[in-house]
Symmetry: C2
Subunit: 332 residues, 2 copies
DNA sequence: TTGAAAGCGGTACCAC
DNA sequence: GTGGTACCGCTTTCAA
């Protein structure tokens, strides 16, 4: 059932059917009613591909995430989806994984679907070496690219990050202020945001004249139990506070404390990151740094719409503040 | 940069370029090399819309979920995505929410994007009244529809469910066998699968000649703390076991036990559902019924491919067994 | 092995 | 108001 069928059945031309479908006011009430009734009867749905081809746009934004089953990513997509929809845009989602070549292939695939803009979710897309982000710049040659939680330099590339460095700096400083001396920093990634967090941590120690100890800066695997087990292995490593780069790592630290019979927060202060549901699952419940994801998404989509609207002076980089959500694992 | 440009730059016709792009063997090595080099140089990417229009298919499957930020849904999408990709199919995701009219609109939108099949994830799509699923049948008039975790009657509709009734029956029977007398059933939904679980619960009680008490069959809100608070309100309701319809509810029960100072599992046995990461976050860690999601996804995609391949006798309904993953909240 | 041309299902401009 | 028609970019016969 296509527009030609509807036209024939209504006794009008396809141009008129098209007008009716698009709510043009240049159609007589009588004709409109006739066409609408046929459309209704036949259950006609226009072919969006043809429409997209004709208009040169699908009114769609490509969204790329490394892994959709990650709670952080899926919440982000959820926010983005409703924001985009409210602006009359569709989206096409694709999980790229973390491998460089997959990311590149994923971007190409998205671009070939005629998206109007590309949205990269996650600091993994900020890469490490300049060449890691070449694909971002080359995508930006076609459509504007927006990065959430990461920053990439380049023409037509816009980024939105949360102020992780500052947030960690502030929390670690509070920890020190409340008497903690050996603060463990746990991270499972070497992404842009992981680095920012690490820097905040180091700067806080420096500012308080505490030594930067390599042993207190740990790279851990991603599973809860893996984190616990790794910590248990280091029997002679002592620490009185933990700052984790995400909640799941922090839950691992809670498990460790349970296993060692440590009281939280008396013996061990633990702070997580992202303020996800995980933070509320454990016992005691985790204090966690809220990275302002919702606000980042809002600002991103807002700027995206301005760019698509032809606005030429949209801020290229936006930083959103984080805030510590206090629960029971913190005593400051 | 389109196929005409490439053709002109290569000094061949668009038909030849098309052949090269599609790896046809009816192109001379020389021509192929020439065209490929131009394609490479210009960074040409074919327009998938045009391709889809021409072929009458985007090789894409529409996936509809109520809410993508739900851990269960996003894991499911993650499985489905990699399975579909491995079969050379794309997908288009859309969150429908739980409202009936949104579901219908969502299905229409997906259909208009020329998907080759529709995949509904979640028992919410099984509806309650026959009319709730009319939209499923009407979608099935266009493309085959597959439902994950729910069952809908109709031509061209295929469903895959886990054997929730049996799983709950078996677990509740074990609870009774180990001496539990007052088993609380907690659910936050009235979906198809929620009903199946409830039936399993009731049948187990009946089989053991235990009374079916309305007070032990509770409908709860979805938040962890809401569940805890609700349970705390019923100070004079006694129960020695909990079977929750999902892990997040079960974690709420754990919180309740903590608040009341109850020992788990001595005073209270708790079993969750879905075996998600939530089950591992709390303390003690939750035993949880694994609903075999991965297997469901695999079987679904496998049957989907057969249907798309023209196979006419594909099983319409498939049931996958669940299995209890034992952790510390269970003493049987 | 290659090219010409007719679709695919819409949009949008231009006449009438 | 309405209809005719030239695109949009690719696939796919059919001839050559």
């Amino acid at each position: 059932m296509n527009i030609y069928d509807i036209a024939r059945l209504s006794g009008v031309s396809i141009a008129t059917v098209s007008r009716v479908m698009n709510g043009s006011d240049k159609v007589s009430g009588k004709t409109r009613r006739k066409v609408l009734s046929v459309i209704q009867q036949e259950g006609y749905t226009p072919n969006l591909l043809a429409q997209g081809l004709g208009q040169g746009t699908m009114h769609a934004i490509g969204i790329m995430v490394p892994e959709i089953s990650d709670l952080f990513m899926s919440s982000c997509v959820s926010y983005l989806e409703s924001l985009l929809l409210s602006h009359g845009y569709n989206y096409v989602l694709s999980s790229s994984g973390f491998a460089q070549d997959k990311k590149e292939a994923c971007a190409r695939a998205l671009l070939s679907r005629q998206i109007d803009a590309l949205l990269l979710v996650g600091s993994t897309y900020a890469g490490h070496e300049k060449s890691d982000t070449d694909f971002v710049r080359s995508a930006a040659a076609q459509v504007p690219v927006f990065i959430i939680n990461g920053s990439v330099e380049g023409e037509n590339i816009y980024s939105s990050v949360s102020d992780d460095k500052k947030a960690v700096y502030s929390v670690v400083t509070s920890m020190i202020g409340s008497g903690r001396k050996r603060i463990l920093f746990l991270s499972d990634s070497r992404s842009y945001s992981a680095n920012e967090k690490l820097e905040g941590y180091e700067q806080a120690l420096l500012a308080s004249s505490l030594p930067l100890l390599g042993e207190l800066r740990m790279h851990v695997p991603s599973g809860i139990h893996d984190v616990r087990d790794l910590l248990l292995q280091y029997r002679n490593l002592s620490f009185d506070a933990v700052l984790a780069a995400n909640d799941s790592i922090a839950v691992g630290a809670v498990k460790y404390a349970c296993a060692r019979g440590l009281r939280i927060p008396e013996d061990l202060v633990i702070v997580g990151y992202n303020n996800s549901t995980f933070a509320e699952c454990c016992e005691p419940e985790l204090s966690s740094i809220d990275n302002g994801l919702k606000e980042i998404c809002e600002k991103t989509v807002q700027r995206l719409m301005r760019v698509l609207g032809g606005d030429h002076d949209v801020e290229k980089d936006v930083t959103v503040p984080c805030r510590l959500v206090r629960r029971n694992t913190t005593d400051f």
